[in-house]
Amino acid sequence: MLKSREDLKNRRSLYAKALESQTAKILVCAGTGCVAGGSLEIFDTLKAMIETRDIPCSIELEEEDNGDSVGLKKSGCHGFCEIGPLVRIEPQGWLYVKVKQEDCEEIIDQTILKGEHIERLAYRKNGDICKKQDEIPFYKKQTRHVLQHCGQIDATSINEYLALGGYSGLEKALFDMTGDEIIDEISESGLRGRGGGGFPVGRKWGQVKKQTEPQKYVVCNGDEGDPGAFMDRSIMEGDPHSVLEGMMIAGLSCGADQGYLYVRAEYPLAVSRLQTAIEQATELGLLGEQILGTDFSFYLHINQGAGAFVCGEGSALTASIEGKRGMPRVKPPRTVENGLFNKPTVLNNVETFANIPLIIRNGNDWYRSIGSERSPGTKAFALTGNIVNTGLIEVPMGTTLREVIFDIGGGMRDGGTFKGVQIGGPSGGCLTEKDLDLPLGFDSLKEAGAMIGSGGLVVMDDKTCMVEVARFFMNFTQNESCGKCVPCREGTKRMLGILERIVSGLGEEGDIELLLELADTVSATSLCGLGKTAALPVISTIENFRSEYEAHIREKRCPAGACSKLKRIEIDPELCRGCSKCTKVCPVTAISGKIKEPFVIDQEKCIKCGACIPTCPFQAISEV
């Protein structure tokens, strides 16, 4: 139990020494991606091998580590899930990719015992071998501050977090700063909310502090519902203490003693890591009553979402924590005055809170030196879609889309050409070739008709149909509309109906105008962000790809060749030898015929999945 500033400092230096004295460290990535690839089994195998070989090893960082042991740890997400499971070797900084259980023996014998690099496990790019993480092009252009610990430390150990300067932001705020000074520091840093709106964080905290009501709350929005975004998931899994520390500093600055973390149910690993972190911090006395011997008390609770996208909206989220249907309400009063349990509430998202300890520790000048003037700092993005390198990245604001997609993302996969990028998920817009040199920032994107949103970047190639993309997002928003406002509930349904007609070849003249008219109404008359932005994907795809809409409507043709209802799959009777191979893969038994005679596809039954095409040894099946 830490009772004073001295206690905290002592513990930190004790563990810093212990961490430094470990001869080697093996960090096995235990983010959702690598776990799915079997990283936990790799961890267990390594552990068993170390034990049978009698190598001194510490699974948990102990203060008495005396310099001859190997540290074996589960780290958070490295962000480059595609080449997982990842194993990182320190102090060399080597990164082994696509590690399998069979590789464990070699890792122990070659790398740990002899200190030799295993070339075949290294990342390769065009024949070049990248030993270290920083040598990999995916990481080269990144600036990792918020994600700095992800992949580098044991995500389940508060001691490692402390050893690397953890909770020194809280320490500084607690002993050297007043509430107003904390808020000033955050205001001057220019930090803007990372959840989508980009509201200045310091101003928000100041408004909460001003309220006379004695009970206040800090709420962390971990309901990262945008499909294609997983920045917050990785932070919660990989560096949970940074979120806790940020929330505590927020509580300290504005006089709140209760904090709630609202995490979506689809992130079970994040929930368990946060739970562990809270238990550890409470045990050490960094959470609870009279923290480090001061008057400041702070308690944290975790609430799990139950599958409602709209709960990412502030007032819906607080309603959900209160145990109600998560429906947004009319504002004002705003959350800062009347939030959780009708009390003044600081509500920020995970990435925002994770920035706070860094700003307090390093000062606002440091923070302002990163990024662009109106959007300082870095931003994490989830880079996905038809791109070579998918994963989680962090870049300074002001980086261009071109750098993100082509330098970090490595360009398009499978030889496709770049067509567009959806930014900000279902509430965002679609950017195209002409926007590639746009610097990423809250305001620059807004001007381009998109928004940064929470940071999902889904890159699409020329085989992606933009009308279908708009339909996909509209389907999502329509499903997730809470039903409170008629324009959103009915308007999204009508828009979805029209889009479904268009992609099935039943579009009519005037549909585009009707879509735009509905878009206008839904945007103007809905209460919350979900409804207000629901039409953005439709508007921006019409603006950028109007000709694709027109081809669907007028020529009943999908220029990208993606809309299944607009294509036919046929067997060329000249080429077909009647081997019946194709019938075996057809999921709907649409193909029939006599052996050694040409087979035919029943177009009524065919779902155009294309599964039969590659099975034909005579290339007789094709899309027409």
Binding site: A36, E82, A306, G391, G610
Partner: protein
């Protein structure tokens, strides 16, 4: 399927989260974790203990996607149809599984209660797209064929999920 009312376990769940209206969601999640769905028979008791109306319990249970008032299968398969999985062709996987299990958009659970097939909007495992989960275990980089194989293994009890 009717459920035998077991107030003892229900009380245990309620006491774990506290008998107050704000615990409704956590309690329903606890009940669902135990039974894989929310048996309606429990509602009067929960409502009474929390001091809320049964109607308000229903309002919460029907609002959130994760709650089910119908029994679910032993294996719950969720095909991710988030943006990243969608553009990397998740729908053919869903179609294949639906046809092999004789399920549809309306009918999600097999009659013998062994499989439930659903879609989910994003699991945050976009780097491994397309993915599906079986009782929360993530299976990466799926194809229709790999999904069929997985299904076969589940049916034969070769993998535990």
């Amino acid at each position: 399927m009717s459920h035998k009312f077991d107030s003892y376990t229900i009380d245990e769940i309620i006491d774990e989260f506290g008998a107050q209206p704000s615990s409704v969601i956590a309690i329903l999640q606890g009940v669902q974790e135990k039974h894989r769905y929310l048996p309606k028979e429990y509602f009067p008791h929960i409502a009474k203990r929390l001091g809320v109306s049964e109607a308000s319990l229903y309002s919460v249970a029907t609002f959130y996607e994760n709650f089910s008032l119908e029994p679910k299968g032993k294996y719950v398969l969720k095909v991710c149809d988030g943006t990243a999985c969608h553009v990397r062709k998740s729908i053919p996987i869903l179609d294949r599984l639906r046809s092999e299990l004789n399920l549809s958009e309306e009918k999600c659970t097999t009659d013998d209660l062994s499989f439930t097939l659903e879609t989910v909007s994003c699991l945050g495992a976009c780097g491994l797209a397309p993915v599906l989960t079986v009782n929360d275990k993530v299976y990466p980089a799926m194809t229709p064929d790999k999904a069929s194989e997985l299904l076969k293994q589940l049916k034969e009890g070769l993998v535990d999920a």
